[in-house]
Symmetry: none
Subunit: 202 residues, 4 copies
DNA sequence: TATGAATGAGCATTCATTCAT
DNA sequence: GATGAATGAATGCTCATTCAT
């Protein structure tokens, strides 16, 4: 600002942002313990004391990353909550859309996703909370009679989380499948099952 | 003593086994980096050099644990392979049985399971191989027309792995659900889907 | 301070230089294996991590010492190379001068000399190279007819090295003889032999 | 003995001898610190406790090796002492013979030679003693007028030791020159010098 | 805003040596 | 005469973190 106004944020903000970005990548690549503060700052072209100018310690930058991911993720899931009284016809479409949005978010933030899902000590908590939200999200549908009441919703929600997690790593990140496609496949499997109906009816 | 051999396994074998057991627990609890050789031997009532009598280094004992888990797991999955020409009626039962056995194995070896699925650098490889085996295992069923050909088998297999992983951690280990129960629920969801058929057919 | 730079060399350079000096002494006194990094830094009034700030590991500081000695030594011997066409009268003077310079260098760097000649795994190589240089240095003199062609130059050169090495340790280092004196004696012995000519000619 | 009489010495003696032989080689190859008791016994097909049956500790076996070398070496040099009143004509022959015997001894015991000359903490002492013996050995010759009194006998003796040491390593051990040949060359150089007499007399 | 220099605390690994059998 | 099993005591090295500037 003032003289020649720096392009975007103060120099300090830029430095901090850079450190965050690089740290995310390092943590995702090498895990928390496998990542050295010295490596982060080296890649950022800074020195170690500079790091401590912006973050209290190694744990702090990690938590900041996880926290931001967590916040954004829950914003997303909150938005895609199914309103009660939804049309049965648009149901699967709504679910597909929600899933696709989530996958898109993961795809745009692969490092943060990896960290938050697999490296953080609070990963479990995160996933459990996600499962819970999914459970709530779908509970009403059961009441409405859309979903089979015979299925344990808790098991179902956790299953969904596990599968989302896995498909994110094996299909989404390597670029094998796009968010939309993945979402559709999941919905297809879960709604209808995999058994061949024509045989079944024999 | 006296007639050939001490009470149970030679003393050395016992020591090694003890170290393996304790190490598995430590690794499962604190992760690879969070586990100190000194902690392992302390819990075993030994000294550090003794550790190196049985294992080349920290990495080695870890690999030995993972390897043994991997070996046993693949033995199991190989055994529960579906033979071709199986009766359609017994199909879901067979699948349920296979899953139940796997969950039982996990339940009996929680430490090894945690390590191999979440701590090892070869976890991904392990899961991918497991998914592959599941894929193969089910591929014939598609040919036989039991399974809907519309479902991408790769996605399906990976989904299964993800969900098995997740349910193991959240339901099986805490003792919320038993192996059999979990297996049944999974099969139920996947075979039939979760949509309420009566509504759907309206 | 104030105008550019601290008193003498940056603080880091000073530290490194101090470590090198002390390490040289420790290695010379106790050998490579007998020297502990902890002893070096203790004498330098530093802590162990500081050591690793300047040297990759124990081996590295040792090699740096040996390398510097080797470099300086070969600079020296290169300079004192005998030019072709030298006067027969000044020949022995030139050789004496070269030897004296070498002894002076050794005397000024006793620790490095000890290390490089007796502790390094590349000692042999160093001596061989030195012998080779001596050989080359004198080869022309044989052609010019100054030296008796009957003498095997290789044997002669190696002999010189062995004797330099030995006299350095037993006469020079304890201060029994000065560089000049030693050089003169060597030249005397080698040029003329030790047999009493008067008797011989009888 | 008695029943089937073991070929040579008791089993224990054999074991000890084997350990000594192997240890000599290991020490010669890797130095004192570079040699592990565990390596010695492994090559001998024994276990570590067995080692301590025969030697108090690592230092002890090393000293035993050095001691035996030292004893034999001094026997040798004592025998080849020049008697006073020797003929001037046979003088150089006698010296050559003595040197050749020493080289032969070294060649037959390369490991012990290496250890005693380069690895032992008493190497210096050994060489000094050897130099002293040489000095004594030749002192009378000076009195008798055979050797030029202008040469410092101490320097000369030490020179001889250094050169013997060096030629042993570079010419004798690699098989480049035979004991006799080496001895002759040394005597030639030292007695007559290397200067070309014909030029000198110009 | 930034850094050159330094360190406290810790960890994996090694090796000579010994005890009970 | 021999060994399976174990250990006391080091030692090299690393890493997150800080102080003075």
């Amino acid at each position: 600002m003032g003289q020649r106004g720096r392009k975007k944020g103060s120099n300090g903000e830029q430095s901090k942002a850079l450190l965050l970005r690089i740290a995310a990548n390092e943590f995702a690549e090498n895990g928390y313990h496998g990542t050295k503060v010295s490596s982060i700052v080296k890649r950022a072209g800074m020195t170690q004391p500079t790091f401590y100018l912006y973050f209290e310690n190694k744990e702090a930058i990690f938590q900041e990353l996880v926290e931001s991911f967590r916040g954004n993720l829950f914003n997303l899931t909150r938005k895609s909550r199914l309103e009660p009284g939804i049309e049965i016809n648009s149901l699967s479409g709504r679910i597909t859309y929600g899933l696709a949005e989530m996958f898109t978010f993961f795809k745009e933030n692969p490092d943060l996703t990896k960290i938050s899902f697999f490296e953080s000590s609070t990963s479990e908590e995160l996933k459990r909370k996600l499962a819970l939200q999914i459970e709530e999200n779908l509970a009403s549908e059961v009441e409405n009679g859309y979903f089979s009441a015979s299925v344990d919703m808790c098991t179902f929600a956790e299953s969904l989380v596990g599968l989302i997690e896995r498909l994110t790593v094996t299909q989404l990140f390597p670029g094998i499948k796009e968010p939309n496609r993945l979402a559709e496949e999941i919905v297809d499997i879960f709604l209808n099952g995999v058994i061949n109906k024509s045989i079944k009816e024999e």
